[in-house]
């Protein structure tokens, strides 16, 4: 069991999201940084879809009431086990009674805590992700609070064998994902790109935009030089996607993220390449980003390369596990 001694800013149970229900207005949810989430699961021998904790900026205090295998991937929120700094992007054996705490967020905004066996909350519509607004999924449909006790799913024989190892036995770490202070985000022109005036079409790919305070799992509101349509247009609502960049009447773009609504009526100036979504999700309020144009074909190629790389990482982890057991 995981015992929450302090809640932190916003800690939620997330998997890779709810698929197939957007046509009913049910949002996808899921990890904001799916790459880090997947790798954390692979490092503890889980299926990459297993439910993990998404920890935001100020982390929680968690006590482990049994021997467990964990991995922390994503932003570096200065994690400590029983007061000792602990490594990220690696497999860790944690003894019963240990306490995990977090300190200053150094790089990135979100860290994923995966645990062998996964967080064992009931699946709702095929997913364990927390849907805060509808109060379903995750742990009782809400962010974690002090006193919550989260059940852990059954570990496999191999996971159980590894749990018996000491904390420092796994002298092997994955290359951490690189998050940047001022990232360049690759973006495809959006469905309504050509409705924008010439000036806006140039500026979106040349100027810096700042993440505003009004940013959360639903979307990041960016501030910069305002963007405008050639002529005002009333659009008919249609589906949006993870990474759609909408521009409402005030001219400030909004990047839609994991908890986006299923449909929207604002013109979309762009669509962030899926491989670059983690770079945005890991930004903190006040940080800047720039957009760089990429074609759909290139963005798909990058995605396929990333999937191949994850496949290789998975194979490498399996080899290591065989070595360790």
């Amino acid at each position: 069991m995981l015992k929450i001694l302090k809640s932190g800013l916003q800690t939620t149970v997330q998997d890779l999201g709810r698929t197939g229900f957007q046509k009913y207005g049910v949002i996808a949810s899921g990890a904001m940084d799916p790459y880090a989430h997947r790798l954390a699961n692979l490092l503890v021998g889980n299926n990459e879809q297993a439910a993990a904790l998404e920890i935001t900026l100020a982390g929680p205090v968690i006590e482990f009431t049994e021997d467990v295998l964990i991995a922390l991937c994503g932003g570096d929120l200065s994690p400590q086990l029983d007061g000792e700094a602990v490594g990220t992007w690696r497999t860790l054996a944690v003894a019963k009674g240990s306490t995990l705490t977090f300190g200053e967020p150094r790089i990135g905004a979100r860290c994923y805590l995966a645990i062998a066996g996964g967080i064992d909350v009931p699946a709702v519509m095929g997913s364990r992700s927390t849907y805060l607004r509808a109060r379903i999924g995750g742990f009782q449909g809400r962010a974690l609070e002090k006193g919550d006790e989260l059940p852990i799913g059954d570990a496999t024989q191999q996971q159980k064998a590894l749990q018996q190892h000491g904390e420092n036995d796994f002298d092997w770490q994955l290359a951490p994902a690189r998050y940047f202070e001022e990232p360049v985000i690759r973006m495809m022109p959006g469905r309504q790109f050509n409705l924008f005036d010439e000036d806006s079409k140039k500026r979106i790919f040349s100027e810096a935009y700042t993440v505003s305070a009004n940013s959360d799992r639903m979307g990041y509101r960016l501030e910069g030089s305002g963007l405008a349509l050639k002529t005002p247009a009333e659009l008919i609502s249609e589906a949006v996607a993870f990474g759609s960049v909408q521009v409402p009447a005030d001219g400030n773009p909004i990047v839609l993220l994991a908890d986006r609504q299923t449909t929207g009526g604002y013109p979309k100036i762009g669509q962030v390449a899926s491989v670059d979504l983690p770079l945005i999700s890991q930004l903190k309020q006040g940080q800047q980003l720039r957009f760089k144009e990429i074609s759909v074909a290139d963005a798909q190629q990058r995605w396929i390369e990333q999937e191949q790389s994850i496949h290789r990482i998975k194979a490498a982890i399996q080899l290591k596990w065989e070595e360790w057991t």
């Binding site: 709702v124 607004r133 249609e238 589906a239 996607a241 759609s244 609504q261 798909q300 995605w303």
Partner: protein, 232 residues
């Protein structure tokens, strides 16, 4: 008919079936949705029908944009052959006015009607669900009389109780879960619209015909005891 395709990023494609909301386009959307539902191409992860578009999400590791487009074109060539799907009619009981519909008065005054007349017009309409979006199970319902149209509120309410019936412009709808919102609120239904434990998880689906039926506050409370029942 003119069908066009365009990418929605690297993992979705938008099928555009028209450029204005009308009966014919709506029929086409229903047919495309039914076709995708029955064929389930292996690269498809899900699809989202809207007013004039159907967006298809896919796994680029299984098919790239050009292949998805070609396969969809091939699939949609059969569109005309299908008989339009029969639509369901769902009756939604509503207790109008009072604490459930704080803006009924406003909608009446705005249209120089009495609250009674607003209720009579609202219950007499032939409605259909154009799209589900905004919130789980939230129906965008078309077909409301312009005699009871009313603008959105200047500043949205922070909290609208679940199952409240509202009007915005020429549209009427029901809030399935508690959310912020700017619609004018005229009543409340005891029926639960979002049913996460069911498949499908919503009472209404795009394409459904809808009838609003007035009920008394007593009936409302009796019905609320069993919010999934078709009849109290």
């Amino acid at each position: 008919m003119n069908i066009s395709f365009s990418p929605l990023g690297d993992q979705a494609i938008v099928i555009e079936l028209g450029n204005e909301i009308n009966e014919q386009t709506e029929q086409q959307i229903r047919k495309v949705a039914a076709l995708l539902e029955s064929r389930q191409p292996e690269w498809m992860t899900e699809f989202v029908p809207a007013f004039v578009t159907v967006s298809v999400f896919y796994d680029p590791c299984l098919a790239l944009y050009d292949k998805v487009k070609i396969e969809l074109e091939r699939l949609l060539a059969h569109l005309g052959e299908d008989i339009p799907a029969e639509s369901r009619t769902v009756e939604i009981p509503v207790c109008y006015g009072g604490k459930f519909g704080p803006d009924l008065e406003f909608v009446a005054q705005h249209n120089k009607l009495t609250p009674r007349e607003v209720i009579d017009i609202h219950t007499a309409g032939n409605y259909s669900v154009h799209m589900i979006g905004f919130a789980p199970g939230f129906p965008f319902i078309g077909g409301m009389s312009e005699k009871i149209a009313a603008p959105r509120r200047d500043s949205p309410r922070i909290r609208i109780p679940e199952r409240t019936v509202g009007i915005a412009g020429m549209q009427t709808g029901v809030y399935p879960i508690e959310t912020p919102g700017g619609w004018q609120l005229i009543g409340k239904t005891p029926l639960r619209l979002f049913r996460p434990e069911n498949d499908p998880p919503t009472l209404l689906q795009a394409g459904d015909k809808v009838i609003f039926k007035e009920i008394s506050e007593d009936d409302y409370h009796a019905w609320e005891e069993d919010p999934d029942a078709e009849n109290p």
